[in-house]
């Protein structure tokens, strides 16, 4: 299930951890092939996160989204859930990492989303992206 075209407004009612005040976000493609997107806060355009579908890099990724989040987002059908994860590349590092512990989950119909925190320590917050995608 894809989100509709044209930069959609995503609403994260609780903000995201560390950025609780920012509840409205847009998402646009960052690369030609659509591998990466830029998630930008509408109310503070200086705040952006690079995000991508985790399955592009980790095909076996199987996040167990807590029921509390599925219910809050009113996701009735798993196909209605759009999932993406933040990509991190701090200064001094040359291998991007992905936060697999805190995936963003968005209801494709309502565009309501939240950053979910998985209850599974095997998912790292800084998992190196495999070489060459």
């Amino acid at each position: 299930m894809d989100l509709p075209a044209d930069p959609p407004v995503l609403t994260f009612e609780d903000g995201i951890p560390g950025l609780r005040d920012l509840t409205r976000w847009t998402i646009v493609d960052l690369t030609e092939g659509g591998e990466y997107q830029l998630l930008t806060a509408i109310d503070d355009a200086d705040v952006s996160l690079v995000v991508a579908s985790p399955w592009l890099f980790f095909p076996d990724y199987a996040p167990d989204i807590p029921n509390v989040d599925i219910e809050a987002l009113e996701i009735g059908d798993p196909a209605d859930a759009v999932v993406f994860c933040a990509v991190n590349l701090p200064d001094g590092q040359d291998v991007p990492t992905m936060n697999l512990l805190g995936p963003f989950v968005v209801n494709a119909h309502t565009r309501l989303g939240r950053q979910v925190i998985l209850d599974d320590p095997s998912h790292g917050v800084r998992t190196p992206l495999p070489d060459g995608d």
Partner: protein, 95 residues
């Protein structure tokens, strides 16, 4: 901070609908059961802090990551690609 002493099997009640029960003590670990409405998120504090910190890093490094990833994609595609109009590229964030 309110401090209460509880034995295994005893609980405390927070508000009208949150109950925290001490289930078991084993060495320096304590098993705790939490009964709360579904809209209340319950997470380990250090995990929340990890995600907060990672988000802050990702926000700080977004400009660098953006340049890095765009260059890498261009290199993998075998050089600069002609720029297509954006309106024929529907947004496809997942799967």
């Amino acid at each position: 901070m309110l401090v209460l002493t509880r034995r295994a099997g005893e609980s405390i009640v927070i508000g009208d609908d949150v109950t925290v029960t001490v289930l078991e003590m084993r060495g320096d670990q304590i098993r705790i059961g939490i009964d709360a409405p579904r809209h209340i998120k319950v997470n380990r504090q250090e995990v929340v802090e990890q995600v907060e910190q990672t988000n802050a890093e990702a926000a700080q490094s977004a400009a660098r990551a953006r340049t890095f990833l765009q260059q890498r994609r261009t290199q993998q595609a075998g050089g600069p690609q002609p720029v297509r109009p954006t309106d024929d590229r529907p947004h496809r964030p997942a799967r």
